[in-house]
């Protein structure tokens, strides 16, 4: 059974620092093949038989966890899940203890979500096996960016030279950070836009603007981010109506972008806040496609992180 093999992939998926463009492209190509599996009546292949994957979520998330767990099961891996909130006094200790305990039980890969940034990076020092970052604080959410890239390529073809606008609470968004890291690797130009209080001082990989018109002008795709209402309590936003007045993506404002420019949102959505009315259900919206593609992309991530790396 000798046939073309892809060159070694990084052991972990923490962010994209260790990944090359060609590795990302191979992974997205694998995800394409996984879509065929998901289109079958029986959506299951034996590829990861004998592997055990743990989802370890220190921050609540239903969608991402279910997407990962289904991805693992569709490839015949065994899945265990740990979900727990951590008291803020002894966070470091608790993360480490929990993971070291699981490490003694023969886990082959960890899918890790934490509210604190950088924990997955620390974790790979505590663990012998691969770590997949499923979101750490505001820092990174690489599989979300991969599924966004996959969805964008599905609609736009190559991302070379394409302008992608990301709109909303950029400051607190790991989705924005990971997309700003990944999309330029695939040739795209990222413009991040939001009110000044919700923009970071800088965002590597993206240019920043407070002008929605400037962000959307000639954009090939528009990604709206979830606005977390608790931000208002901290005084970062004067009021919801003001945000909506200046930054809601409306049918009319979408006219600034290229005709047919698709609309993305990582979910969960606040209807009538980030997006106007029924825009999320319009043919331009790729929101449901993103969810469906998430599973195929995560199957591809598990394949590349696990296969050939048992020991």
């Amino acid at each position: 059974m000798s046939e073309s093999a892809v060159p070694g992939f990084p052991k972990h998926l923490l962010d994209f620092r260790d990944w090359s463009r060609s590795q990302i492209e191979s992974l997205l190509e694998t995800a394409q093949m996984m879509q065929e599996v998901l289109a079958r009546p029986v959506k299951k292949v034996p590829a990861l038989t004998g592997f055990t994957v743990a989802t370890v979520f220190f921050e609540p998330s239903t969608r991402t966890r279910i997407s990962f767990e289904l991805a693992a099961r569709r490839m015949s891996a065994d899945v265990v899940s740990f979900a727990g909130a951590v008291s803020s006094t002894s966070k470091g200790e608790t993360y480490r203890d929990t993971l070291r305990t699981l490490d003694q039980m023969g886990i082959d890969a960890y899918i890790l979500r934490t509210d604190a940034a950088g924990v997955p990076h620390q974790a790979h020092g505590w663990l012998k096996k691969p770590v997949i970052n499923a979101g750490d604080g505001w820092r990174a959410h690489p599989t979300q960016a991969l599924l966004d890239a996959f969805t964008l390529r599905e609609r736009l073809g190559s991302l070379e030279g394409k302008k992608i606008a990301i709109v909303g609470d950029i400051l607190h968004s790991r989705v924005a950070r990971s997309n700003a890291e990944l999309l330029p690797m695939l040739g795209a130009r990222v413009v991040a836009c939001g009110p000044a209080t919700l923009l970071p001082a800088q965002l590597p990989g993206a240019t920043l603007t407070t002008s929605l018109k400037e962000a959307l002008q000639e954009a090939d795709a528009v990604m709206a981010l979830r606005l977390q209402k608790e931000r208002m309590d901290k005084g970062l936003l004067p009021s919801l109506p003001e945000y909506i007045a200046a930054y809601q993506i409306t049918q009319e404002r979408l006219g600034w972008a290229r005709p047919e420019a698709p609309l993305l949102h990582p979910g969960p959505m606040n209807r009538d806040v980030e997006l106007e009315g029924t825009l999320a259900d319009s043919p331009r919206s790729l929101v449901e496609r993103q969810v469906a593609n998430g599973q195929a992309v995560r199957m591809a991530v598990l394949y590349h992180v696990l296969v050939g790396k048992r020991n």
């Binding site: 059974m1 073309s4 093949m33 065929e36």
Partner: protein, 181 residues
């Protein structure tokens, strides 16, 4: 790897495929429910030829699919390399069909085993046949081919290379020898 000899030339490959096409039609008593599924990479090119030949002899084009067995390999927990996952596309209903699985070389039988699992996951054919251009022996599983272009006894340090016009620019079967390690 060093080249040892050419086992089949272009004409011999064509004759072998022509004979296989006739045998398939004879065994299936025509083209009813017949279909071909080629295994990556060269099995796909060979399956296309067989579909063309069947059409030429019987005047009917039978459906064809392509199959990648990577996700069905039995060594994914062991190997050091990551095999590329390639396209699987079976654009017709397998239920009730007589499927001819096509591969270039039959060797250990592990590819055929994986292909059977991959196929059965997608439907319930009435019958699955295996057609190969070369059977080189050294089976590790209880698997045999129904249609064989050429039986070639080989030693384990030899490599049988099937070349096709589509993939390699010429039709040929060659014998190579692996370097002593």
């Amino acid at each position: 790897m060093t080249f040892k000899s050419k086992l089949l030339n272009e004409d011999e490959v064509r004759r072998a495929l022509t004979r296989i096409a006739h045998e398939v039609i004879e065994k299936n008593k025509g083209t009813d429910n017949l279909c071909f599924v080629g295994i990556h990479t060269r099995g796909i090119s060979l399956a296309k030829r067989l579909v063309d030949l069947v059409e030429k002899f019987e005047g009917k084009r039978v459906p064809m699919g392509i199959l990648d067995i990577t996700l069905y390999r039995d060594d994914l927990t062991e190997i050091g390399l990551q095999p590329r996952v390639r396209e699987t596309r079976i654009p017709f209903d397998l239920n009730g069909k007589a499927v001819v699985l096509v591969d270039d070389v039959l060797y250990t039988g592990r590819t055929a085993r994986a292909a059977l699992d991959a196929l059965i996951d997608q439907g319930r054919p009435n019958r699955i046949y295996l057609a190969v251009l070369v059977d080189r022996g050294h089976r590790e599983l209880p698997i045999r081919a129904d249609f064989v272009g050429k039986n070639l006894p080989t030693s384990k340090n030899e490599v049988v290379k099937v070349k096709t016009q589509e993939d390699d620019g010429e039709d040929a079967v060659e014998l190579w020898e692996m370097e002593e390690s």
